[in-house]
Symmetry: D2
């Protein structure tokens, strides 16, 4: 295959992607366009610009963008409509960010006439799959370069040597190896590898970065009310907020109360199991709140169908199939269910827990009149239940008769 001429690189400004930048130039003799996005990871973007300039990238080839609102509105919120949990536990904080980055990489490639995109994900993880499937789906002719799978810089020593050879500044704390690997965005922070590789060992407290420990959280509960419209959160304690503002606010609340820490072993799409520690403070509150408002506004038939399809939907996102027909089909199904998911969930935040304590809605399907132990004024005829049971039992009785024949 011939060498790419121009490559758009997902660039963080850190050491690794700076090495990739230089390696791409060296290896392929190509022009590099850098793309740095603010997805709420909590880092300044301007240093990335400076670093790119320092490494010789032309100003018109440096793309810096704040994607926080798009991220929450078009990726996080649609996913939360599904109550998505991978393997029953993981809120998909890393998975959901990758398609957006890939989308912008491809769009910038098209805008700049680049013939390839590149990313800094390794060959053992899920992220390479997510980046690449999304890129290929959006531009089937694009070329994707994954230096970690290709190069010979297979040890820390070689990487640092390459950096030095290429005048890439190395921050002092990057000389040694990080004790674990981190990914962060507005939805979550994940930590994995190194000190976390033994799944029988409790994760050390210093791994956690955006939540206090439940033990250190306030001794007094805090209450919060989240308002929903069409399945999406729109307000906190009555104040209307944009998607990113709202999630930011929930992160503060959750972080303060030690909410959203999870330590798990998951099955990667590439076949091995890995151990991850995730912090999703705002997302954990949001999931509880969404289930809370659904509990009174979503019909049982709709809710159960959603629940049955959720694991599949979560798996698609985890595996990198955001831009696939089947994810879009499931999304259409889910979104159809959310029309009346409207109202307010009240939660109690305390020592790591976000507990729903109340829900109210103008679209409520909860009928005190029907459920009451008191006189229901004829809303429900208990005798109907006898027929309901008899008919439901008929096939079981026929089976029972056969068993006794």
């Amino acid at each position: 295959m011939s060498s790419p001429k121009k490559v758009v690189l997902a660039y963080s400004g850190g050491l690794d992607t700076s090495i990739i930048l230089k390696w791409l130039e060296t290896e392929y003799g190509c022009e590099v366009v850098t793309f740095t996005a603010d997805l709420g990871q909590g880092e300044e973007l301007e240093p990335a610009r400076k670093k790119a300039e320092l490494l010789g990238v032309k100003p018109e080839n440096i793309y810096i963008e704040d994607l926080r609102e798009e991220f929450v509105r078009d990726f996080v919120f649609p996913m939360f409509r599904a109550n998505a949990l991978y393997e029953g536990q993981y809120l998909l904080g890393t998975s959901i960010a990758r398609p957006l980055i890939a989308k912008r990489l491809v769009e910038i490639a098209e805008a700049t006439g680049a013939d390839a995109v590149a990313h800094g994900a390794t060959g053992k993880g899920n992220d390479q799959v997510r980046f690449e499937l999304a890129a290929y789906a959006l531009n089937p002719g694009i070329r994707v370069i994954a230096p970690w799978r290709e190069w010979s810089l297979t040890s820390r020593t070689k990487l640092l040597a390459f950096a030095e050879e290429n005048q890439i500044p190395i921050a002092k704390d990057k000389r040694g190896e990080a004790p674990f690997s981190v990914d962060a965005n507005l939805l979550h922070t994940s930590s994995e590898g190194k000190v976390l590789e033994d799944p029988s060992e409790e994760a050390p407290e210093y791994v956690y970065q955006r939540t206090v420990s439940p033990e250190s959280a306030p001794n007094t509960p805090e209450y919060v009310e989240i308002g929903f419209e069409r399945g999406d959160a729109v307000s906190i304690d009555g104040e209307k907020l944009s998607p990113a503002e709202l999630l930011t606010r929930l992160n503060v609340l959750g972080g303060r109360h030690g909410i959203g820490r999870i330590d798990l072993v998951e099955g990667r799409f590439v076949g091995m199991k890995s151990r991850g520690v995730y912090e999703t403070p705002g997302g954990t509150i949001l999931l509880a709140a969404h289930r809370g408002i659904e509990s009174i506004t979503l019909d049982r038939g709709a809710a159960h169908l959603k629940d049955e399809l959720m694991p599949r939907y979560a798996e698609l996102i985890y595996n990198g199939f955001w831009f696939s027909p089947e994810r879009e089909m499931l999304q259409a199904l889910i979104d159809t269910s959310q029309e009346h998911v409207e109202g307010t969930t009240r939660l109690k935040l305390y020592k790591g827990m976000a507990s729903v304590v109340g829900r109210s809605s103008p679209k409520s399907l909860y009928s005190e009149q029907h459920v009451t132990f008191e006189d229901d004024a004829g809303a429900y005829d208990q005798k109907d239940a006898a027929g309901f049971i008899k008919i439901n039992a008929l096939r079981l009785r026929l089976l029972g008769m056969r068993a006794r024949r």
Copy 2:
């Protein structure tokens, strides 16, 4: 339909089932056999015997049984192999007890020559369905009597009048109406109705009966290790325990730390939504522990299939279809997956949370060699990932090409 001659009644010894006992005799002129089971509800059984005798039931017609081991071994544990949660949250504590009671009712009916069984569940709830479907499945010719759907004792006043007319002793605290309705067994305590009927109102603290509030729980975490074999918990902190002993022990631990409270609105099988407050202290720990041990011993393909079918399985139990071919088929599928679910999960209990902090197993599928960021000695060839992605992307690229045509 002619009157039943002999009826086996699920009898608690309480006021309501005592009224039913007398009503059955009065209404049908039939002989009543009482069946009182210890499912771990935390009440003495001997008073029920005394009460039945007092009401004139012949000694040979009084059945009192301790079913705790059978309950946990044959009902609770198989269900926990599935990680069953109804509507994403409810641990099915009431649902799972009903089939066992129905099974014994039918068996006692057959042993005593009774032609009917009776229960004290109302016509608005799920329990009537669970009792009756199970009874009909096990004995298609049995007759089931549900007095609450039939009689004219439709108010508290009428009930008490009937009790007085029939010399049924009324405990002082039963004169007034209970502020909510309770069901309990070794797995859980549920509370619903009356003061809980407004789902926007936080449940008052006095509703909770077997857990302290997280606020009142100890300020120091406690660690516990649960051992598993073939998917079932078999030990706590290394001590082998029978199923019921183990669950009892976990209930103590969970209750002490405020674990397993849940306040939710659920969709009943009979069509309306209802609000319930559940306490499942031991079960909540058990579920977390089971997911923990599965996370390292269950293959991803097996785990995801289980996750996708779990909502259906939970719905079947909730709806009363324990004794149905489809539940048995799902159970066979689930049990097949559990052969190697063996090892130990370590949990931290603190202020309402049971968090998995470690898992280890002789059957672990977690391979540090494969997942490591370090040199993996050739266990995994990162270049394979490129082909994996390319082939997975092919259909997406064909779609993308069509979109661009």
Copy 3:
């Protein structure tokens, strides 16, 4: 419950619904509005008007409507987008007509100020459920009267006596009992009961009404091309046709070639098994054609998801849940998949079979370049397959290693 004042009756003009008409007037002293629809059952509607008039129904209370286009466009076609088959075989010809009739019953009730609707389905079948669930969903306050479940006219003799008492004309051939029961509309004709009740006996040839036997069909195959847009058939042999015209045309073709006969035993929603003989000539061709065009235009991910959900979707329609959130959610999912289902399927019709022999589409995903055994000019790198397999195998190899430990 008080008597209804005005009832809209699904009225065929036949003896049974004429008896119902009179019975409603007699039993409830209510006014009856008749609704007779042309769904393609192949009967004139004007005799129904005459009959209603003869029975004393006021002209303004006689509704006669041609619903064929609405039936095919809004009910049959959406269902065929899903390739719906109940229990793997039944094309749901009766099931899909009921919601439309119920919808018009309710709408006419609202237009005429009627407080109830009535239908002529028996208490053992599925149709009562379909009529009533649809009616309740569309108007939760409506009352539904099902005379067959209520009245005492429980034998043929009593029915005829009632007819005579009430001056209802009885056609000579209705004196005896029909040898089987028939339902027909543009999609299918079903026959069941009486001579068909023994499922081990072959259905007699005289049961079939709109298809010749394969043995009597032409000895020469006939070819037909069906054009599709967005998943719906729009043309036959290049000629654009409206939905009902198209299905009518396919029925002629299928009927002539003995296509679409099926003899099966199905599980009714009310719990027992029943044997039915169905003729769906046009629908059988349409299903094959739709699968044919999907085979080249629908991505594998989309197609498999549809296939997995189809049984659920078919069950919902069979059970009468057309107007339910879960059917609408599944429809949204299905419809999302059909955007590019466009092109032409060529079929061979011969002796009971409709075989796809060719498919072509401007939206085809079939790529000769990729699939060819010949040189593919680099479209596909076979070495990628090695990586694809290696990564897919990893979890199986980890399992294999465990098994060998």
Copy 4:
């Protein structure tokens, strides 16, 4: 990677695998063990032995086995219990044979101390995946060699040149290229490629190899009765037959009547669509017969669950995951359902169709008493249906009330 020392080759005796045999020796300097199996493909095996000897394989390294009974008993029949159809149509005739061949390859490798296995599947198809996933699952340390993905013999000319250089005899009719590619076993014959590559063109008659055309089939129907026990066919017209005998007999019947031809475009696991023509004469009859006997012996709950999971099960087999936990879990579920699938299905074979015309069973769940239009002696109380509907409608009515608020 170092060279393998000894390789077990799936060897047909044909030109292609003979070339592979020599290529393995040449390329790797390894010893080759040949494995030739009779899976009912209809070819003599002794010529393969002769050919192997001629090519210099040591007698003790030549394995020739008749696997027909194992194939049908342990692979085909379990799959038919599921009514498995890939993409609604394909009976998986090729897919189901691959795991058995892989299993024997691995076992022979272990018996002979070989360190690798090899197969002749190309890099574009599904078979490579099926062979290799099975091999890796059964022996995680095995090495798999797929010459078509590796070698430089990328054209017919080069292949023939290699054959001549290596003294491999070339049958005259192999000089030119075959007009399409064929795979055959006791279950089916598949044809694909070359003349079949344009999916809009009807497959030419000469492609079909084991079925007459429906036009050439007898003008008189033939009836056959298939007996089942525990879900497996055990007899034809009352005569007990072993699995392979039975399928052989059905193939004769089906072939004679032109049954089991299918022409389709399918989605390959490796991402592209391909067109295949399949002949599955006996399997098509067997599937119809199995559905027939299930229709009276399988409960609706069991049947629907099976139907919903079937596409997943079929996909697993198609994709090569026979030896995976999820296939085994689904098999356990399916097998649990088959205990009472016993009795006889009567079919009419005529001009390409296998139509069920009767079913009878000692385990029948069909109850004439319940379904009859006649007096049912109280087996079913039609009034129960009213309650059944009312309760099923409740949630729809609550939705309707909300819509009208």
